[in-house]
Symmetry: D2
């Protein structure tokens, strides 16, 4: 529970503040000999980056990634892979007013309470979505490992923004379809409505929440530990560690509460010589362990805490004050959150894949 | 990620199979000098035990707990606390038909895949709800620590069974109110309807899911690590490690997806000399760290996989077969799950409480 | 760093105090399908047990081990293996005088300092050599895993007692030869002298230290992590966690300080189609990773702290007092320490073996 | 056991290869509000650096350290501290002959075995003493924490080179005295002899081993976990993870084997109102826990594996060949190892200090 590390065998440690010199990560435990493509890491980072479209904040963050170790002659060496992005477009003065007050529903007060009053208040410091750069870069390494070993394919997308919910075929949706839409919602009609809603929220100085869904294909059966580290538990941990998340579900999720056993149970059958389930209400995980079916999960995000309306709050000395955010902000973080959701899913799967290998003698 | 351990500083390791000699746990890391009451551990175990009411399975499990170490002259000594319950009412023959097939939506197939065909098939083996005995016993230790240090109070209850949802005042509900109802739903009207629904499901040989809600009071501000081990993430991990869970949410949860920032944000104010939020949409956690407000979370459970209807499945050799469960089973695990939900919440809080002390010099 | 757990993947957690109800361990992470022989566990425990010979304390400790979980139909199931020994021959009254003072060079004062004055003073409580029962039992599981996977063979023996040092051929010594001597020193002549020295020390009410050496054969090349968890480091950690240890060395050990590179370096050659070293100054580990040669290590033990001479000390209130130990005590723990040394070596190797498998795709 | 991380609460992860773009570390878990002086980090790095004197290799390594995160307005913020040194003076061509053979007593063969043939052969890759830069930088952070909290003072020095052993008064020796000698042996007469011996070894193309001793003052009583993570065990782990180490001892060390209990036991007395020991044979640690006396430990280093003599070895294909090292190398690493020894000691103490705070309620 070192706060900035995740994973037991495929282990990522991130560092960096929004307005410090750099952000990045060390990935420790990646097997040797995995083909490593830095361009793929950059591609994942670009999907997280602000300024990709009219929907997202207009800050220019180049986010050019550099690899400092652990890769030699195009493959991983088994030693720690350090990945780093220098911070550039920093305007600390935009934030100086944040020094002495707590923004509502941000981490200002809780950091203040936790760290005895010490806090890097510039742009949220560590509690900034720039922290996710380290996660996304590490996830890109996990992606290459899982593709190399199993052909794992991860497709995340925006399922819902506010009350607009897309109709998406989990079985067939592709990353290409997702990337065709600046919303990252592959249902064209819902995507249009989402754009309108987000632009309206921006005009209102307000913000919107939503839901990201993620489908993972070609996961081998047998990943997950049986008790505390069920695959479900690790995924929940990973996803709920992303900023602004408020809920997690697998398979039927909260909807399972209203089903009966006769409806929810997935009958087994033999298909193509393999034990398969006829339906996939379980979302690919049974007894906490993958069963070889597609993993399907959803993550709920609250509306961004930063809004332009005036809000009541208090100073660090407890005096009442009014806070009104200035500057550039995302009215809806969902389209940029897809990359982070995928990264966390990939980190969990890579870790459990190594864990599962550990007990098999070659 | 040793599958049967949880926690970094307040660390529990559980052991035991449904039909082995015993189940239990070791709690390592509990501070010295905490008053220890074994009767309180037994009381928590009794809430998990089957056979408590007409609603739950009629197996008689005495579940008498024994403490083997770590307690001396009425207080904890700081060394590992081993707690153990002997298994008694075991009827392995009831289960012998399970040896060669995979029960739908149970862990039989995934254990088979994970462990290369080795599986203790008696009563689900490790993947039995008896495994939760170790969790509940450990949670009872955490409860005593947190009560002693902060006066933490945890109230879990059944919020929903099938589509019957109780109306419960989170701010005032007490454990006593919960225990007045065999459903552990403190809304008398909803509780009556739940009883009827559960009895109908039993008559139908079917099963029901539902939602447990848990409120935690008197949690100090500042618990939680800022990145991967946010308090939200640890809670999600802990709760989603319980058998049959399908979803987790904190505060407004999935409902937050449809709110706007202006509605969801919690304004700060000074109350009784403390920084408090006026509303609690955040469910007591902001930026992954507790803010001193009540923590409110919900966990969705799927309908029990064991039903009496005939179900299609396959044998371990892939041959189609029909499985029909016999014997005594819970049509709805929710009333017994409350104790386990509280235990996991308490384990998380105890671990984060120690973590938070670690960085403070006395 | 949960104080009573060891290992990352092959993980043991021990519990129990000298005069509590029981001692034992949970072994989590043992692969499924390993043949499990409880008699072998008992055999290892018997080698640690007091009362084996005239040399060791005459307490009768039956130390009958029971397995509570994780084994089914003669093989491990992959789930936690709980092993337990009930305490029987406890005479707490022998120890009541220990309640209010600090025995010199025991753990009484440091436990008092660490745990804020709370301490189970009966027979040393947790800081008793009975704690090693959990270690030895766990080591016996590791032994069965390593024998099954690689044919690993571990031969520990007493190399030195006081200034009497045996002449032992590391390449050929067997466990049978070791067990022929109550000293567990397989050099007959040195063994005789050790017996005389130990009996003299007993007559003097004094105690002796010594050195245990351990040879491990058939360890595959490639075990060990390259930086902080070098195999050397893990072994040092494991061995120096045994009570009364004061030093650890590998290969040439402290003697290497006086050699030159030309003398110490081990030339490589091809033998039987394998890369082998001609000499083994490195003791089987290079760059922190096993090279396939025999691992050779030594552990120094201080003389037992319990002696019958009157010693100056202070009470828990700081008042000067005299302490004189009564009752039955080992004047030299070395013969009984061999089992614990082997156990720790086996636990380290099992953990690293799983770690090494983790990064290999099957 | 992620190979490149160390510590549970005060946790360091290092990265970097000898000839990659950079080396460095992330320190996670340092409390907030500790005054941070980057110049002190640089000072510690300069003590590890080659080219400090005529005794050490003449490569020019600037080793200028940069802090990338976790420090704000002169104090630590509680978030990860990333420290980095760019590699500059790299002459990869010097090493190209290493690609296809295994240097005797280096890590070439064992890395090859562990990583399936993948290996960054330039300058030893990860198995280079440049990796220690991350350790030393992290240790410098631990130094500032421990000085701030307890006034801990660490004095490491070269006790022995080959068979030349210094006479040093553990109770009074200072870092200033150590730094007066290019050998880092504060006994002027022994230091002179060591210089002569090292220069002779250089002329011979040979190398020397030795022993570093380290004294730590002002460590509070109560640090260390009682079973597997005894302070002794953690120190042994940390020190034996340094390259080229072959032995570790605490207090009387291997010498304790020849003492009797009456001689080795440390009598307690009350001094200045505190419980103190009259002698310090235990080296400041009893029962695995610090007792408030000076911690005294020693580490044995083998002679550097790199020598200029021709050595028999094999190629990666198993063919016999001759290897003769070229270029600049240290004939004796001891003077530069002092900084790394201190760093590891400091990392262990910082970790245990946090661990000890964890169980104390404020």
């Amino acid at each position: 529970m070192a706060g900035s590390s995740f994973g037991t065998l495929f282990r990522v440690t991130t560092f960096g503040e929004s307005h410090g010199p750099a952000v990045g990560c060390i990935v420790d435990g990646c097997p040797a000999g995995i083909p490593f493509d830095l361009a793929q890491v950059q591609q994942d980072l670009d999907r997280r980056r602000p300024g990709q479209s009219k929907l997202t904040t207009q800050r220019k963050e180049g986010d050019a990634v550099e690899v400092l170790s652990g890769v030699f002659e195009g493959v991983t060496t088994g030693t720690p892979i350090a990945l780093q992005v220098r911070n550039t477009d920093q305007r600390s003065k935009d934030y100086s007013e944040l020094k002495d007050l707590f923004r509502p529903s941000h981490a200002d007060f809780t950091y203040h309470a936790k760290y005895g009053g010490v806090r890097d208040w510039r742009g949220g410091g560590r509690a900034s979505y720039r922290e996710a750069i380290g996660r996304v870069a590490a996830g890109a390494v996990a992606r290459q490992l899982l593709a190399s070993w199993y052909g794992v394919e991860t497709v995340g997308y925006v399922l819902q923004v506010a009350d607009i919910r897309g109709q998406i075929d989990q079985a067939t949706v592709t990353q290409e379809q997702v990337e065709e839409h600046i919303t990252r919602c592959p249902d064209p009609s819902a995507s249009e409505k989402m754009i309108a809603a987000i632009e309206q929220a921006r005009r209102d100085g307000d913000s919107l929440g939503g839901i990201v869904e993620c489908v993972v294909r070609n996961v081998p059966a047998g990943l997950g530990e049986p008790v505390f580290d069920k695959l479900t538990a690790s995924l929940a941990h990973a996803l709920m560690s992303l900023p602004a998340t408020r809920g997690f579900e697998i398979g039927e999720g909260f909807g399972a509460a209203t089903l009966r056993g006769t409806t929810h149970n997935d009958a087994f059958e033999t298909r193509d010589g393999k034990t398969r389930t006829r339906t996939n209400h379980s979302g690919g995980i049974q007894g906490g362990i993958s069963n070889g079916e597609d993993i399907v999960l959803r993550v709920a995000f609250k509306p961004t805490a930063t809004i332009h309306a005036a809000q009541e709050t208090v100073t660090i000395d407890g005096e009442p004050t009014i806070f009104q955010a200035k500057g550039r902000h995302d009215p809806c973080v969902l389209p940029r959150a897809v990359a982070a959701v995928e990264a966390m899913v990939l980190l969990v799967l890579a870790d459990h894949a190594l864990m599962q290998q550990a007990t098999k003698r070659q």
